[in-house]
């Protein structure tokens, strides 16, 4: 029993460390973006190219994409803009997304949790797993922090991590737990699990994960089920 508890504790710490490392990589970005937005009168979409070195310095490890997404009205020449970098054939490149509101393919990102949660709560946010059809069509976790300019929300900085890479890193931990183990987000969505009938992307409906989360996400055990939050993250470990 004690061994099992220790193993679960080690997994919780490993997942928490993985998340904190990603947010640590993002830490310099909000201030850098805010400085840039404040230093010039009227920053346009093109000027965001200056963020390339900083954004690209965060790429590596699990992080496959990073950058800044502007809140509408922040830039002088575009209502919507991403300044987001990914590696193409090894070289970092700024993504081009269709952000012309009159276009057939326009996608309003101000509906996405990676944008709305930092905007509405001022807190960091882990979004996903979700299909990122704005940029890459990959199954993604997106980590975002709010950017403020003169006290007002100006957008988010963030990093993308692919779910398959998280699986590769955490699966050895989950396999060592015995039983059926899953990492889930605060909606109960499975990130990775050792149970075929609880596949990545599926929702855990029992126990009630959103309810447990709303009640403070205290460690819970019972009925052969153990539920623990991974540090200060929006990810929990469920063992059944």
């Amino acid at each position: 029993m004690a061994d099992a508890r220790n193993a679960r504790g080690d997994t919780v710490v490993a997942v928490s460390d993985l998340v904190e490392e990603i947010f640590l990589a993002l830490r310099p970005m909000p201030a850098a973006v805010a400085n840039m937005l404040e230093s010039a009168s009227g920053v346009g979409a093109r000027a965001l190219d200056a963020l390339a070195p900083l954004a690209c310095s965060t790429l590596g490890g699990l992080i496959v994409g990073a950058g800044f997404v502007a809140a509408p009205g922040v830039l002088v020449d575009r209502q919507f803009e991403l300044a987001w970098w990914k590696r193409f054939d090894g070289t970092p490149n700024r993504l081009i997304a269709d952000l012309d509101p009159t276009s057939e393919k326009f996608f309003d990102y101000t509906r996405m949790p990676w944008f709305t949660v930092p905007r509405d709560t001022g807190q960091r946010q882990i979004t996903g797993p979700y299909v990122d059809f704005l940029c890459t069509d990959d199954y993604t976790l997106t980590f975002t922090l709010p950017v403020r300019r003169g006290g007002a929300f100006a957008g988010v900085v963030g990093a993308d991590v692919q779910v398959r890479d998280v699986e590769r890193v955490v699966m050895p931990h989950l396999r060592g737990l015995g039983g059926r183990a899953a990492l889930i987000n605060n909606q109960g969505r499975v990130i990775v699990s050792t149970n075929a009938r609880q596949a990545t992307g599926s929702l855990v409906r029992n126990p009630d994960i959103p309810g447990w989360w709303a009640a403070g996400a205290q460690p819970a055990t019972g009925d052969g089920t153990s539920l623990r939050r991974c540090g200060d993250t929006q990810i929990a470990l469920l063992v059944t």
């Binding site: 490149n93 269709d98 996608f107 509906r111 979700y130 299909v131 059809f133 199954y139 969505r189 599926s202």
Partner: protein
Amino acid sequence: MSPNVRSAMFAPLDQNGRVETVIARLVDAITLGLLVDAEQLPSETELAGQFGVATVTVREALMALRQQGLIETRRGRGGGSFVRAPVNSARTWHDRLAAVSLTDLRDLGDHYAAVAGTAARLAADRASPDDVARLELAAADLRSASDTAVARAERLFHLEIAAAAQSPRLTNAEAQLQGEFGGLLWLPIGHGGGPGAAQAHAAITAAVAANDGERARAATEKHIFDTVDRLTDLRLSL
């Protein structure tokens, strides 16, 4: 395009030819059909040479065209700037529709129903309350839409369904099918301008929210086959 027209289009500009002039030239070429949909533009350097302006001028012009949705630029291998012919007149829709055989139209509908129907079934299993809220927003988009906004609302709704299914592959297949025949399937013409499509989106969303996969699939298939039927009738009337 004849070689003459092409060389006239890219003839050097006089030296006060600024960004606006390059924009005007390219906009004319695209709207007049001299540059056709999906055609790749020469590189910035080549265009700059042909127009006799600085590369930075061409770059600014291309950015403006991108914002107008007249070109799209893709990175990486096979990248470059590609023409996106505007979809803003019934004429172009008719032309596009006239170019498609009924055989191919039916087959596209069948394929689309296979992808979108399965996506809807899985979305009913896997959509979180957040996903359902976004689907409701996307369904509402169509109620207030006209012209290109209809196509945008249709595309977005079906992409959101595939994303709610948590399937990158189905999302990708959805996006590819949406582009077939120049996005014919979701043009406003297939809707008869009626409220049927908005009702269909509401029905699909309700089935997903109720975790009813079979109802979500059936409502999606009906929505697609109804659209194909309307397009077929329209095609027969041309």
